[in-house]
Subunit: 441 residues, 2 copies
Amino acid sequence: MIKFDKAGVAQWQSTSLVMRGLRVRISPPAQMASAVINVGSEILTGDIQNTNFSFLAQKLEEEGIEVGVQITVGDRVKDISKFLKDLLRDYWMVVITGGLGPTEDDVTKEAIAEATGLPLIRHRDALRIIRERLTEKGRKMLPSQEKMGMLPKGSIPIPNRVGLAPGIFLEWEGRKIIALPGVPEEIIEMWREVRKYLSKERNVFYRHRVLRVWGLPEAEINEKLKDLLIKSDPKIILTTTSSGVDIRIKSRGGSPSIAESKLEEVEEEVKKRLGDYVYSADTNMENVVGMLLKLKGKTISVAESCTGGLVSKKLTNVPGSSAYFIGGMVTYSNQSKKELLGVAEETLLEKGAVSEEVCSEMAKNVRKKFNSHLGASVTGIAGPTGGTPHKPVGLVFTGLSDGNKVWVEKHIFSGNRDQVREKASQAVLDMVRRYLLEVLR
Amino acid sequence: MIKFDKAGVAQWQSTSLVMRGLRVRISPPAQMASAVINVGSEILTGDIQNTNFSFLAQKLEEEGIEVGVQITVGDRVKDISKFLKDLLRDYWMVVITGGLGPTEDDVTKEAIAEATGLPLIRHRDALRIIRERLTEKGRKMLPSQEKMGMLPKGSIPIPNRVGLAPGIFLEWEGRKIIALPGVPEEIIEMWREVRKYLSKERNVFYRHRVLRVWGLPEAEINEKLKDLLIKSDPKIILTTTSSGVDIRIKSRGGSPSIAESKLEEVEEEVKKRLGDYVYSADTNMENVVGMLLKLKGKTISVAESCTGGLVSKKLTNVPGSSAYFIGGMVTYSNQSKKELLGVAEETLLEKGAVSEEVCSEMAKNVRKKFNSHLGASVTGIAGPTGGTPHKPVGLVFTGLSDGNKVWVEKHIFSGNRDQVREKASQAVLDMVRRYLLEVLR
């Protein structure tokens, strides 16, 4: 059993185990952490990404459970049971995904039986759960489906509301084994049950939040948050992607409200130091821009060159975006910039398609064409070719017009074609955000 | 040492080891396969996807080396060395990524030393490689960087042309250890060296290819390829995504040409049975459409509603797409469909924005507006809201006009907003493909 001290540090209380009369065959785990086994041959061939693991890792972290190791194995009983046995020696909890279905290849339960020495039994509750699911669908249980109701003795079945095979909770020798199916949608749905189960014996609570930053490089953020970054609680982790820098803050406390207030304190401090560069907490740029447009009752249209439709695509990722997004133009050729967007031929000839002037005309004209409150624009060189010493790959102009004024910003982005396009789309959406917050200068 | 029999099955020849006078402390591996250890705390927290592993798994498979297990651990010497030791007992080769850098957290080499009992030594060749890299950049070696030149005794350093830290080849007790840095770009670059090294002792060769299919559900493909799907060489695996169905074919043989000809034979058979539904081998839809447009000297423009720019974005993913992509319009509102694209008000009122008639007008009009050879269009209901009993979420029309004729296709796609949008974009691009192949009816 696990207790947490006042500081929220987990303590293994082996004595309580003995007092409760359990036979202690294995010693307390060396690490108060969990391990994950993903059973899946298609992950081992590199054909699919192990998204089940990243989901579980994040969810376990939310429950305050560190993941010490992750193992992917194929569907061989011997391999699964070997690693399971090994991990049960060192870890407090092992979560297994995959291999619970009705086919020959589904051998996870056999492996649990082999690793723990528990027999597989026809589990009445599990069979009932499967039968109920089948009845809902107007079907009868096939003999092959009965296999899904065979569970290691002592298991508590976890209902599966998406697929058929129930999951497993199993307490064994002071360890916890949780087995879930391999289908991502089923794991996501079943996690709610797992969460309830885990929270029963918890007295430390965790909160985390991701503040997203655009326009400030990681090194500068690092400098500004130096004193906060060395602390372990709340802990701050920086990650740079093409969409900006993510500041992940994690806090813990003896109650949810203590954890939350510790988190908020640091969150406020980070926001104070970084100001408008923080564009969101826990959401992406298009959601923020969409919310602000809705809030201010403004509509927008977009003229794109190098991003080729990505900015419009992002804005319309948001359900309900038709409330503020009127439309977009992808003017990829000079001809279309001229004929459809009305960019002056002389500007294109004198300044070139990738120029402050063309970007400015694009923003002004798209706004008029679509009759929207705002017009946004992007023109640049995404690469890999098309760069010159004067106008290198990565040179991008982003623009915004509100009918009274036009703003144009110049950027030089690093990275490959995809990265330059992603950064360019973030940059123009960030201009819209700052405009709506009245901090665009 | 490993030999392959005539059928290409790997055989462990333990006698040859003894004959070569090596001390055999461990028995031949139970499985003639490899294991991969990814060292990375940021993978364990679920913050980043383990793309290094999927890269390595695919590359190892190309070399004909199966991956039996994959383990992710944090940067603790004890954990890494424990699992490494364990895997060296059972596997012929272990590939490790991450932890080769100059910081305190980089402990992979210490772990290799601990697992093998080999001392870390100042490796002259490794230090030379690092010094050369630094000289290229006009820098001198810092004392902290010398750590990267400390390698387990007997290692062959692998030059790193992207970063600084060299990788490691190490033969130990009949096993191979390969250590690479954790940065994806460095692994990709260094794989060329690893490949050379691995190919030295190979006498079985593998080939694989992915045929991509649009417009035919997996169940039907399954039915058509039933007899081929049960064979183990060449092996065929089907995977369904929002972009279609992937048919992965893998073959092997005693020489590259034998493997290739076996692959081609099955590839031709699959293509014969599935016909025009196969849209590519080893590449995506926008590349195929781009190649065909270039080949036929045709230009294109796109009018999008529910896909919100995704079709244009995909077409412009391809470098050099300005040769055939003139531009696009995202007419998200009725107003913009009318004013900018010239769709008749009565069509919009009578038939609705999501209708065969509006889709047809969009294709015809965008073609004229942009003055391109072809005009493509999409209109539909991506969801999650906006559906009616008559026009449900997932209803999508795709259209194509060449100035003489207009084609419109009706689809009902399943899935969430993202999936419906992805499928809609594939569907319209596939119409362009079939038009250019002269099979659009």
